[in-house]
């Protein structure tokens, strides 16, 4: 096997959907050397829909592909690099992280996971036989025109199923919808529901799920099963569109990050995962609302988070953990008077040692992240001593004689 080529970036973003592209725009604009890796079409799941009517700023709604092309162009304008391949594995626990593809290993300081979701399938008999353009589709926009004047089936009753189903009625002569619930009950919003029920081209099969798919080369029939009666119902259909939810693309992270039972990544509100320097944003996160607008919000936070993390890492390495002098790092809190009052005394000591001691302050009121790099349990009025850029000791004894003695022992 040929050796994989190594390349270095500041930030590698896994996934080029709405959230990944937004994070890329922020990173690129902050002049970070940024790479987006996307395994399919840049734009992600939003390119599967013909109409995005709820993304602010575009009152004359546009197609998902048009909207995502604008995101893509904007990221390119800020110098973001793109690579179209799938990420096979990641190693994220070290300061320099590695993202591996078929030909390359990308080394980076920050990984942003924006790998989103993929359509869930029914698991019915013969389903695999008809995936990939043989009659089962997850994208109405992609396959609507090919179904002009044909009969199609839609599985599901959520917003995506019903809205995409209505879009399909503009092409197909009939759209038959399989709904798992009792007559009249759907998972979508009320407006979509009322419109769909009034649409003469739409027909509903209540209390049904897919039992099997049948056909020779291509799909010809969908066999539904009535959950109440157990009866089978054969529907002749040229294409079956499945909109029964999404599964998170998180398999490659499962050994390194904590996932929810459903496989989503949990983050804090700053999009940070449990690993320093690893962020997650968009549909891959455990969150309330999975939409383009929220993906954009997440992506911007992750992008700014990446920038701050990298700046802080550099500051920590070059300034706080400097190697030239004996280091004295004082942890205080801006809202804690006793810890603040010791600062002049410490500055005096630094002066007394002339050029041999370097004093740094860390204010944990501003945030714990710098302090956590030393010791995540440290509280105000702790002093860390360093030599050659390595922590030698940490102490809460802040009396002047004790500090002076400690410093003398280190010089």
């Amino acid at each position: 096997m040929r050796e994989k080529t190594r390349e270095r970036y500041d930030v590698v973003i896994i996934g080029g959907g709405a959230s990944g592209l937004t994070a890329a725009i922020y990173c690129g604009r902050a002049r970070l050397n940024t790479l987006v890796i996307e395994k399919a079409l840049i734009g992600g799941l939003a390119t599967y829909t013909n109409e995005i009517g709820n993304f602010p700023g575009f009152p004359d709604s546009l197609t998902g592909l048009e909207l995502m092309n604008k995101f893509h162009q904007q990221a390119k304008n800020f110098g973001v690099n793109f690579k179209l391949t799938d990420v096979k594995s990641v190693r994220m626990e070290n300061e320099i992280k590695e993202v591996e593809t078929f030909r390359n290993i990308f080394e980076c300081k920050v990984v942003i996971i924006a790998s989103g979701g993929r359509p869930r399938t029914t698991g019915a008999v013969n389903e695999e036989k008809f995936l990939f353009d043989k009659g089962i589709s997850f994208c109405a926009t992609c396959d609507a025109a090919a179904n002009t004047d044909k009969t199609v089936m839609v599985i599901g009753s959520g917003d995506a199923a019903i809205e995409e189903g209505m879009f399909l009625t503009k092409f197909a002569k009939k759209v038959i919808v399989s709904v798992i619930h009792d007559t009249g009950k759907m998972d979508c919003n009320e407006i979509a529901k009322a419109q769909a029920l009034a649409n003469p081209k739409m027909e509903f099969k209540w209390n049904t799920v897919v039992n099997s798919f049948e056909g020779e080369e291509r799909l010809e029939k969908v066999i539904l099963k009535n959950l109440k009666t157990g009866a089978l119902d054969t529907v002749i259909a040229d294409t079956c569109f499945e909109f029964i939810g999404y599964l998170p693309n998180s398999e490659i992270f499962k050994d390194q990050l904590k996932l929810t039972k459903q496989g989503y990544i949990t983050t804090d509100e700053k999009m940070r995962t449990d690993i320093p320097g690893v962020f997650a944003c968009g549909d891959i996160r455990e969150k309330e609302l999975k939409q383009v607008a929220t993906a954009v919000g997440d992506g911007s936070i992750a992008g700014v988070g990446a920038e701050k993390y990298i700046a802080e890492s550099e500051m920590f390495r070059n300034q706080i953990m400097q190697k030239e002098k004996i280091g004295m790092i004082y942890i205080y809190s801006a809202i804690d008077a006793p810890s603040r009052e010791l600062m002049p005394m410490l500055q005096e000591i630094e002066k007394e040692f002339e050029d041999k001691v370097k004093l740094n302050f860390i204010d944990i009121y501003k945030g714990r992240s710098l302090c956590d790099r030393l010791d995540c349990t440290a509280s105000p009025m702790t002093i860390f001593y360093t030599k050659d850029g390595v922590v030698i000791d940490g102490s809460m004894d802040c009396s002047k004689p004790a500090i002076v003695e400690k410093l003398k022992s280190l010089i």
């Binding site: 390119t47 179209l84 078929f102 990939f132 353009d133 994208c139 992609c142 396959d143």
Partner: protein, 75 residues
């Protein structure tokens, strides 16, 4: 090991996928198939199908909305 180009420019789904499946079947293990496409729909299923089938895939955006899907046949 040979490299074969398949011109699917101007062709919409499902044509590029069907053509690529036929062509790849004719090739030997280790051969490379380069499918040229310019319909975004093919970007959603062609790389995914080839990966699911077990091959190595990389894509290059050669122009605005024009791609080379590079498939290395591994089985």
């Amino acid at each position: 090991m040979k490299e074969v180009e398949l011109d699917c420019l101007g062709e919409a789904c499902p044509v590029p996928l069907v053509k690529a499946q036929k062509k790849l079947a004719e090739l030997e293990i280790g051969d490379i198939l380069i499918v040229q496409i310019d319909h975004s729909c093919a970007m959603k299923n062609l790389p995914e199908w080839a990966r699911t089938d077990g091959h190595n895939v990389e894509v290059e955006e050669v122009g605005d909305g024009e791609w080379d899907v590079i498939i290395e046949k591994v089985k």
